[in-house]
Symmetry: C2
Subunit: 354 residues, 2 copies
DNA sequence: CTGTTAGCGCGTTCAT
DNA sequence: ATGAACGCGCTAACAG
């Protein structure tokens, strides 16, 4: 049986949703200014494209009403959220701070905001990624690279600008701003060997990236053809649990000396670890750098100012952050990005410990 | 003249907007599952309220299509963004890291995400606040309190849950999870005076909050009725520019000794500064703690493991973050929050430097 | 330069 | 337990 179409007057239309309490909308502003909502929108977003008159009236109405833009609605309509998500293994560590800081600064001045999520060191959890992508960010910055082929696949099919950082890989998901851990390991090994060190050690985290660094360091140090000055006789590797801190560094040196008593140089994957190694050496009366050379990583703010001053590998994380932000913004605004892979390099800052 | 209504067939209707390329919507999922969009929505958000059959079909369709929720649209419709914004004076400093970490963790497990913005130490910039509020966060967490009455006003009229942290004030904007810098200053002063110190010094940042701490410390230390053990003879105050780091601490001690050569105790507003003071003292052959006592702030991860181990004020920032997150979430879900102000207290961790 | 129309993708509200 | 209709607040696309 066909349903009788209800008479218009009798139509049981659902009661309109209650308006938000204090919510001033762009319509309210437009009404007060005596213009169309669209003109109000333009006055706020592309002021160059409206007349002085309208611009002024809208601005006045905004001031009077205390209007605050609803970016959610704008994002839905324009398909651009002006949000960028950063996925960082560990927010608390000092390592990625400058990166985050640079990201926030560069994005902020371009009108974008940062969603910060913590990914852990292992495989990127699927539900975290979903939660992040659900916000429809205009771009994704990863502190690190995506290890699994599956994760790469997912990110690529997400169809948004992605910048991996903090590493160099042959096949990035999309864009890449980083440096080569292998090169660094090689350079540090060469530096130490040239200094006459033969019993080397490496201290780093337990996660995959740190393990890769360890391997690079070992093979560079033992490589008989690497340098004219010779090569290492032995390289001990110690892993420490995250977060890498001073305590871990102290413990690691203790273990290294137990296993390889004549160790004369240690390369640490973080300045905090290096400070720990130095401290433990001091506690044991080991002279630095005479008996033991120590090289850190990161050139954290304290590295230059502790005693002895830390020799370390310096990375320009601020440049990484700024470049990553620029890449994301360029792509989000539809402009092409010239270089899709950037190696920001590194430098060894020679101070007192090596 | 009245406009002729165009014949329906001739109506020049604008071409519908192009659909997003890869955008799978909930409708697509529903269609594939053979249910209404509404049922698909329920299957994802309140699975308890749909039949097993529908639930399964929807889940299958989601898996097949690779559907990713559009939280923007959801937020617009439901008026709940599941976003929480954190405003931090300085992202790069180590001070607020544990707080941010705890926030991300607690919010994440409740299904919320974090927008991180950097506010600087001064007055909260109006356009930053607008940008943040434009995302319609379900709550705001401030690292610090709002100094200006005007800022308080704005936040209150924004009508969202606000948690201030890291301080205690008489009239918070809304909720407050912090500790009393005055109490800490008093406790440290008492501690040092009881230890026989009489020529005190304070090292802190240049911003208003640090200045308040300095004043509290000075008045507590000089207060003749404060402790049975006596009171300080003099208190020097040194300000350092942000960010407070080891270098600043070293320089500050140098200036203090120039002005007040017999200084026998220094209270630093950050462990990094304290490490700098200790380092500079060592460089000058000043024995710690015999000639100079040093107290830091924060109990950062290295404090216990450097030599000498830092005596410091410990704050449970993880608890602050977790509590703040809980408050926001409770309020966002419409549940009342029992206590609106929480003092998490502090403790003085006595190690080797005082 | 300005206004009109339509719809972004979802959840609320009501009805069944 | 399920579905239909509507609109959250804004901007793209077009017409003038």
């Amino acid at each position: 049986m066909k349903k009788t179409p209800p008479a218009p007057a009798a139509a049981p239309r659902p009661r309109p949703r209650a308006r938000a309490e204090g919510g001033v909308t762009l319509q309210d502003v437009a009404r007060l200014a005596g213009v169309s909502p669209m003109s109000a929108s333009r006055a706020l977003n592309t002021p160059a494209r409206v007349s002085q008159d309208i611009l002024q009236r809208v601005q006045e109405a905004v001031a009077r009403t205390g209007y605050v833009r609803n970016s959610l609605a704008g994002a839905l309509a324009s398909r651009r959220s002006r949000l960028v998500a950063a996925l960082v293994p560990n927010v608390a560590g000092p390592v990625f701070q400058d990166l985050i800081q640079a990201l926030i600064a560069a994005l902020g001045s371009a009108g974008y905001q940062l969603i910060l999520a913590q990914s852990g060191y292992g495989v990127l959890p699927d539900d975290l990624l979903n939660a992040v992508l659900g916000q429809r960010p205009d771009g994704l910055v990863l502190a690190g690279v995506v290890p699994s082929a599956q994760g790469r696949q997912r990110l690529q099919s997400a169809g948004l600008p992605v910048v991996e950082t903090w590493d160099m890989v042959a096949e990035p998901v999309d864009m890449l701003v980083g440096f080569s851990h292998e090169q660094i390991a090689g350079a540090v090994a060469t530096h130490l060997i040239a200094d006459g060190r033969r019993q080397l050690a490496f201290v780093g985290g337990e996660h995959a990236r740190a393990q890769r660094r360890a391997r690079s360091f070992v093979s560079a140090a033992l490589d008989k053809r690497r340098t004219a000055r010779g090569h290492a006789d032995a390289v001990a590797v110690e892993s420490v649990p995250a977060p890498a801190d001073v305590r871990s560094g102290r413990d690691a040196l203790a273990r290294i000396l137990a296993r390889q008593p004549k160790t004369d140089a240690v390369f640490c994957s973080s300045d905090l670890l290096a400070l720990g190694v130095v401290t433990e050496a001091q506690a044991r009366g080991i002279r630095i750098p005479e008996q033991l050379a120590v090289v850190g990583f990161g050139d954290l703010s304290f590295a230059a100012d502790v005693l002895p001053a830390l020799t370390t590998v310096r990375i320009d994380s601020a440049a990484i952050g700024a470049t990553a932000a620029r890449f994301i913004v360029e792509r989000a605004e539809g402009r092409p990005v010239a270089a899709t892979t950037v190696d920001v390099g590194f430098s060894i800052v020679t101070r007192d410990t090596a």
